[in-house]
């Protein structure tokens, strides 16, 4: 890496975070607040350097660049929430953002559903495929909301689906365990090798 200051900073911060596991303590609290502060500073600084500054320097002065002022003003309206009496103006950007986002959902999500539907149109000559369809339709049955007294067949299907969902969740949990350990392993590796100089 880049010398002992880097290694020692990293190691002490790593230990400070791990100390949370033992109990609340000043080292953890300092790290927590330092981290939150740096992350917020980074977010704002990065947006300025890599987005707003290029837009103000390159896009706005270009021919037809006035159009960029519209979104800048729209975004700035959000800050009216700090001005009593004018705070209703903040609803304009919020309303537009929400609507735009909902439009995205409506425009793109159905295609994903269609993909899942056509992907489920499997050849029933295979036992595996039949089992898949049973799991899928059973899963659908677990989500029916409007029949409080579900008829027997639907209830049975729902039970099959529930087991399929439980298996899926169990498998996902099992898959996650190792992934999580891999991440910790990286940090421990850093402590043991780079900081304490063990092994290899």
């Amino acid at each position: 890496m880049s010398g002992w200051p880097a290694v020692w900073t990293g190691a002490l911060l790593t230990l400070a975070v791990l100390s949370y596991l033992y109990q609340d303590n000043p080292a953890w609290r300092i790290t927590e607040h330092l981290y939150v502060g740096l992350a917020a500073g980074y977010g704002l600084g990065y947006t300025w350097q890599n987005y707003l500054r290029p837009v103000l320097e390159n896009q706005v002065p270009a021919p037809g660049g006035w159009i960029w002022l519209l979104p800048l003003v729209l975004g700035a309206l959000l800050y009216t929430r700090y001005i009593p009496g004018w705070d209703w103006l903040a609803r304009f950007p919020l309303g537009i953002w929400i609507g735009y986002g909902a439009g995205y959902v409506l425009a793109y999500l159905p295609r994903v559903v269609i993909g899942q539907v056509t992907g489920s149109m499997v050849d029933l000559a295979s036992l595996t495929n039949i089992a898949l369809l049973v799991c899928l339709l059973g899963g659908f049955a677990t989500f029916v909301f409007t029949l409080p007294d579900r008829p027997g067949a639907l209830r049975t299907a729902g039970r099959v689906g529930r087991y399929a969902i439980l298996i899926a969740l169990g498998v996902a949990f099992g898959g996650a365990v190792l992934y999580r350990f891999t991440l910790l392993y990286g940090q421990v590796h850093f402590l043991v090798h780079d900081w304490l100089g063990f092994g290899r």
Partner: protein, 278 residues
Amino acid sequence: MTLIARLQHLDRRWLYLGVLVVTVVGSIWPPRIVPRPSPATRAAYDLAQAVPPGGGVFIYIEYGLGSSEELDPMLAAVLGHLASRGARIMLAARSPESSQIAERVMTSVARRFPAYENGYGQTWVNLGYRPAPDVALRAATSGIGAAYNQVDYAGNTLRGMSIVDDLPVLDRRHFDLAYAFDSGDGFAPMIYYVGTPMRVPVAVGAISMEVPVLQPYLAAGQLAAVIGGARGAAEYEALAGQPEQANVLVGASALAAVYVLVVMALGNAVAHLGGGRR
């Protein structure tokens, strides 16, 4: 019976200590296990193998530093393989950190290939991150330069970079393969905006916990291939015949698997022997 009673009120910090011991041991003496390549990893390898020299590959890095341990070796293995095939590589990122990850891993891979070490702007480019990155990704399907404001990760202009001139649009005509290296949120935008409408084959380099979730998309053909976790990365390394960063991880994680199984068994034993306390 006192042991059981004591275990019933087990302080969770003892479990934490066990985790620490297992990872320290795994870090110093990792057991070596070489996995056999699974069909899913082989599919990913074959996709990259099918990219012609000079073919475009778009790589969307979603994961952050926290997933680096698992995905960096995989990204390095795939980039190394693509570079050995002479593909033109365009990297984009879904967060500021992931743009730095893209830069770090790609420059280290480029050191092994002269055409990439000195070929920035021709053989590869790092477009970096933009706010609302998925919108930028979608915009790239109608024009990459405009979508990324004509600047790359470091703020250099994209104008005049031959890779952007030759591969101006993220579509099937210009790109043979699109990858998401993903810890959960990157694969869906790739399917929505790039895979399904533009018909570019989409592969995912996924953290292991994501693999079950990707199955429906793989089965439906919306994803062309998935490399799963440290194990998948080790398999890819084996296929591509490259140095084995991921392999060590596989051995260490075997220890972790045994430990967690023991903890699960212990939890059950305590609950049942101790008179079924919920």
